[in-house]
Amino acid sequence: MEQVLINGVVLSANYALIALGITLIFGILGILNFAHGQMFMIGGFMVYYVYAVFGLPYLLALATAAVVVGLIGVGFEVLFFRRVLRIAKREENSMLLAVGTALLLENIALFAFGEKQRGVPPLVGGVFRIGDAFLPTGRLLVVVLAIVLIAALLLFVQYTKPGRAMRALAQDREATLLMGVNVDRISALGFGIGAMLAGLAGGLLITISAVNAGIGTVTSIKAFIMIMVGGAGVVAGAILGAIVLGFAEAIGYALIPGSMTYLLIFVGLILFLIIRPQGIMGKPWG
């Protein structure tokens, strides 16, 4: 029983980082970042190369992951999305562009990193025992780091000028424009930070799981589930969604055979969305 709870906490903390990134991008730009899973994957690979292959300190590796993936995010916004959002008459265009970017990243990654699965040795050894349950120190560290990063993001969004501008953009685009905010700059920054969060999540998770060039799609789907449940574009919603998915997985795997878990999660999601389409905390869609 305790093991299930601990599994739930670990999963939720990990997933929250992923969800926050994608919800930030959605909130500011109205774009669902299909490439989120691929960015997560690239973050993991960055840490693999810097930490495991070149032997540099882990925090440096994590920073590299953040910067590289963040720059990819900024690049996408400036080169692709900005133009499409301006000229497109139909909203499908931005979504298909997002799908295209996902395909692009996935294939570039396959070329650059190869097909093998990569992992890194755990950051710290040792296992904690909590009642009947096991909590490897490495996982605890990931949970702690994740929480620190989430807190940092929340503070940034709440108290810094760019952060406030992002919240303003998410709430009311026109009014923000009228306030003289440089929307282009904030959009690029927002996409960059959202992507960076995905990269950080990947960089953290590779220490306790593994990455290969193909995990992008699965991760993106999990991100979608989380924001659909919690409410897209709302930070609290992302965290809620992560908690729901994390615990659903932990409980599900403990009680029922593997793939049934996700079938039930999907069915539950569809039923939930029929009743409450905007998610737990989402704004009513328009």
């Binding site: 499409v84 395909l103 069915v267 905007q278």
Partner: protein
Amino acid sequence: MPPQRRPAATAELSTLSPLGLTPARAVWIALLVLVALVAIPIALRNQPYFLNVLTNACALAFISLGVWVTFSIGRINIAQGAFAMIGGYTTAILSTRYGLSFWLCLPLSALLAAGIGALIGWPILRLRGVYFAMITLSLTEAVRLAFLNGGEFTQGATGIVNIPRPAGIDDAVAFYLLAVVLLLLGLLAVWRLSTSRIGWVFRSLRLNEELASSIGIDIAKYRVIAFAFSCAVGGAGGAFFAAFLQNIYPASYSVVDSINFMLYCFLGGLEFVLGPVVGAFLLVIGFEVLQGLQEYQSLMYGILMIAVILWLPNGILSLKLRSREASAVDPDVEPVAAPSDTAAGRTGG
């Protein structure tokens, strides 16, 4: 004003105009159909590989027509893979376990897919934009998992194999003709739909649902009709593939396939009925031709998607044709001539 004698040309127009065709267009279409049904099978009768490529393209284009119809009511449908799966399994189970002929399985698959589509569609079509897209994406995954966990009934991961070929269809040419006929029927249906009153209702739904509802259109009913049609086409296409490939697995249709159907519509042009056909043919045949670059195929797919969206956001057909809609209702486009003599401006029956 005294009634004027109608010149001969307009008399011709009056037979074709209900279908929204000019004489020139009608001739083109007849020619294409002739080529597809006669010239190609004769030319390629000893090249089953190429025929299969074309068959594949036709069937994929057919399924994409459904996605096109959901685009026409303003929804992004990423669930077509699920309905192709449902149709495919229906045909697989009915023909392998109960010995039903394919010709019976095909309509049954379409009907079942439509029924399920209507049932699920009724509540979820209230959603729009990204939310509808995401829920349909979840649907594709959920259906895949459902078939994976279907136990004895669906044979789980092993899938169903040795699906019998349809009676009378046993070589590449026959399958090709079947696919072409299906595609032509589908095109006819969609064309008819889009030029009929229902088509205009769909268009009004896409442009402004609230407004349509306020003038008394039962938007819920029409949305479901469109979605059910889309699912029927998906189911029929799935049935075709089940008989063509003679197998079906939960792995047969995934999120990637649903996205591909969307891509074909988009590449061809969402304003044009022929859009999905052009998109499907271009991509399927294009990648056969570029087989030498097989390693880079997926990469090029991604680059292509981005390039098209950036520089050809209205699809390939928008380069040559002005869409009927662009000249008629799109507020961004200046109304051209008064819609009197041009059949393009005339609505169908």
